[in-house]
């Protein structure tokens, strides 16, 4: 944590990442250096500045004038992995609740509303306790508690302006207002007309510290519906859940972010509050502001609104490590759906020097039509209708999985598909990947990052992501450098250590046909 003001630290390095892009593309650019060099000084020079506020909040600013808009990302280094085991879904629940307003937004008179909310909270606690006793529960008591909660809810609603955060944003022209909860991070983002930055700071600094968890009892129902919609009704999502629960025995990557069906109806608001107070603090957050803004003014606004929030000590994370896997694990899910397969192999995460090599391997296997698994399995052997892979699933704060997702093409079977997949992975252990194929993967890797920067939101997302995960957004340029140095030997070596039988988890959706 930094102290003593907010001197810009990014002064010397600020151009490095974009400079790197320039370098790469200039060297790869035989015939147009003038045009590009010109545009570089005009546009690419608007690079990222970093400031750290005295409360530890890190701020990244990039000025660019594609359009009179600005994208703002706030990322907290907290996610589903940080929940206690019996309260799966807490981080995600909190993210929902942060749209319910604050002490000054969403209320007509907070002094009148507050005692009602406190009583509802107490009654919900009682109701949960009663329901958990199980059948046969005291139905009468449950009913009367529910009725009392509903009546108080009606009364509290009289003091409430619902969805005020959303209303303030949409009315001022904001788009893509949303939030996401991952295993590792929680993110709140919005894009606004460039003249509305102060409104953003007003709302976001307020909900960083002073959120009011209105209507939390109903929001648990909404999340039950969310789970029904996005998991229970989608066989593929059920399969992923089973896959993770099998590949990880101990590490919280084994739990679903949305929460298990048994925990969602009982998500505990007192625990949510402690979770919020512990992790939604300035020294656990990164803000990225990208767009048609004056960096000096951004800094002034962020200082004014967020600088007042105190830093808090964040307790050491207590995440159990995953023991080394010593044998293949298989899990089968039977459902009236079409077949699918997922293969996963444990691997180290960043900043391991091999992390980028895995990224390139991922591209070699599935990045484009000429990638190996597409060409061999989809086009030549025709055993698959689609194949995807990920070099860091399901998160990146902790060691994760190299994962392959594939769907067989009827009448080919899952067995045939699995065999074909394994034989392609085995080939990587024996034959060196030709240099041209690695070069192609590097090109796709670089271009992917570049394309991500086309929009303000893409760029804000990218720089805030690397800043919060690695402590420095310039890791991005390091990764690009590393990609240049990955060799065929590296790829063979990581394939040999990673793609071994005892390190593998296989999850199969053994379809019982069409429903």
């Amino acid at each position: 944590m930094k102290t003593g003001g907010s001197a810009p630290e990014g002064h010397f390095m600020k151009n490095k990442i974009l400079l790197l892009f320039v370098l790469f593309f200039l060297t790869a650019t035989p015939f147009l250096p003038e045009a590009f060099a010109e545009s570089d000084t005009v546009d690419l020079g608007k690079a990222v500045r970093r400031h750290t506020l005295s409360n530890g909040l890190r701020l990244l600013i990039a000025e660019r004038h594609l359009s009179p808009t600005v994208s703002c990302y706030i990322r907290y280094k907290v996610g589903a992995v940080d929940e206690r085991g019996k309260s799966t879904g807490t981080a995600h629940f909190l993210e929902h609740l942060l749209f319910k307003g604050t002490e000054t937004i969403g209320t007509v008179n907070y002094e009148r509303e507050k005692p009602l909310r406190a009583r509802i909270r107490k009654l919900v606690r009682e109701l949960d306790r009663e329901k958990k006793k199980g059948s046969p529960g005291d139905e009468k008591k449950i009913e009367s508690l529910a009725a009392e909660i509903a009546a108080l809810g009606e009364e509290a609603a009289g003091w409430t302006k619902p969805s005020e955060i959303d209303r303030l944003y949409t009315e001022s022209g904001a788009v893509n207002l949303n939030a996401s909860t991952g295993y590792d991070l929680t993110t709140y983002h919005v894009s606004l007309p460039a003249n509305r930055l102060e409104l953003w700071a007003r709302i976001e600094s307020d909900r960083m510290a002073d959120a009011v968890f209105r209507e939390f009892e109903r929001e648990r129902m909404v999340i039950e519906e969310e789970r029904r919609q996005t998991v229970e009704s989608v066989p593929n999502r059920r399969l992923v859940e089973l896959f993770l629960g099998t590949a990880f025995m101990v590490h919280p990557y084994r739990r679903p972010i949305i929460g298990w069906p048994s925990s969602i109806p009982f998500l505990d608001i007192d625990y949510v509050e402690r979770f919020y107070e512990t992790y939604h603090v300035p020294n656990n957050a990164v803000i990225a502001v990208v767009g048609a803004v004056d960096p000096g003014r951004v800094l002034e606004i962020v200082e004014r609104y967020f600088g007042r929030l105190p830093a808090r000590e964040i307790p050491p994370r207590d995440i159990p490590g995953e023991p080394v896997q010593r044998g293949e694990r298989r899990v089968e899910y039977r459902a009236p759906a079409n077949p699918k397969i997922i293969l996963g192999y444990h691997k180290p995460t960043l900043p391991s020097p091999d992390d980028v090599a895995f990224d390139l391997l991922d591209i070699v296997l599935t990045g484009g039509r000429t990638a190996r698994l597409h060409r061999v399995l989809v086009e030549e052997a025709t055993v698959a209708s689609s194949v995807q892979s990920s070099s860091g699933f399901p998160g990146v704060r902790y060691d994760n999985l190299f994962t392959v997702f594939a769907t067989p093409r009827s009448p080919h079977t899952l067995e045939e598909l699995e065999k074909a997949l394994l034989s392609e992975l085995d080939r990587l252990k024996e034959e060196a990947v030709p240099e041209r194929e690695i070069e192609k993967a590097r090109n796709i890797y670089r271009a992917g990052l570049l394309r991500e920067m086309r929009s303000n939101a893409g760029m804000a997302g990218l720089i805030s992501y690397f800043e919060i995960l690695t402590g420095d957004f310039r890791f991005l340029s390091e990764a690009l450098e590393q990609a240049e140095n990955v060799t065929a030997e590296d790829l063979k070596r990581i394939a040999r250590t990673c793609f071994v039988d005892e390190n593998r988890t296989v999850a199969i959706l053994a379809g019982t046909g069409e429903s």
Binding site: A35, G173, V175, L199, R202, E225, T278, A337, I444, E514
Partner: protein, 467 residues
Amino acid sequence: MKKALPVLFFLAFFLLSCGPARLPDPENIPAPPLEADMPPVEKISLANGMTLYYLEDRELPLASVSLLVGAGSALDPPGKEGLAELTGTLLRTGGTKTTGSRRVDDELDFMAAEVTVSVEKEMTWIDASFLREDLDRGVDLLSRMLVEPAFEKDRVQLARNLKIEALRRIPDNPSGMAFREFFSVLYGSDPRGRLETRQTVEHLDRPDVLRFYESHYFPGNVRVAVTGDVTRREAVELIGKHFRRWNRAGTRTSLPDPARHTGGGVYLLEKDLPQSVIVTGQIVAGKREDDYYAFEVLDFILGSGGFRSRIFSRVRNTLGLAYSAGSFYVPRGGYGIFAAYAMTNGGATARVTDEITGILESPGFRSLSGEEIAWAKNALVNQFVFSMASAAGIARQWMINDFNDLPEDFLSRYGERIGRVTPEDLEQVSRKYLGEIKRPILVLGKRETFDRPLDAFGTVHEIPATY
């Protein structure tokens, strides 16, 4: 948690030092004036009949080339549903007469190009993104795909089989399946309502593809946009150089707008799921009609305006009965599609259908304070700057506007036209399109879990899923 004391201390400190009173009222945060002039797209007519749209954006060393072709799936001959899509896919994957498919794929992947094809009801898009230095070779390949496609036999077979597999998997995505069937019900006997199935795709062959290509792919039916890190001169030279030889004449197939009265009724798609998908809607005004502006505002208020919009607010926030609920409006030139939807647990199916129907049928705009209308109009006007968020996006809107025969000042007058919408206009369009016309309702779910039978909403037709 473990450190309860410091947390409490900080909390107390926090409340004392910066109570909410110190924050300004969010209603009165100053918003400095915004300079928002949409950069003009240049339109250049080419000798072979194509129209080129150009807009510069030199920040990143990337350029986009997008082609809009009047060759949508509504032009599929009856019984050959899926043909427009298969043709579009094969332009990308089927190789060219001078460069085989594998070579095309190899080259595009090596230069990290992205070329995607999307086939809609009325048009086909071919969108490419190239690194600056690959632009010439990229456009060269793109032109070969369009001008001299080979439709290689094994690629035809592959594309057809992959499409059949994708169709087989439609039931694995229930909400996708529900919307697909709903649009088919809504369009009725209009060609836009015909769905491709495994049976229709199975019989499509190379001669069909060739015939479709020859009927609909010719320069006079193509608009091309070049945007990004490229000068006007380069763009004109590039497109001229590679597409000049494409001289085939052709006749555009005109597609009448669909009929608006589709009738009521409940369409039930039985599927064993814990949740029902409910969709209802109507064919409404298009962008060429005056009602378009009022309908934009109406749709925002009803269900597309986020948390505050009526369907979302009622079904999700007040009742807690859905995660996704709302509406959308897809306006085209001469008509538009409006639909409202929710996904809710089986036991709340009739309840939620009732709620949505009630909201659509009695919006009561006259009795409202101006607040809700002001919110929607401000939102639509203020978010307009996002339509100019990228050069490629701006050029795209110009192409769509021309495709739909809209006036030149359609985009620049949008804000002013929205601003003029009155409560009376809203009342009028809501009555005209929603109040007085029967709307079909589609429900996908497990009937035995429903809270009530659905016949209260109209005659129930059990329909099979078509895929």
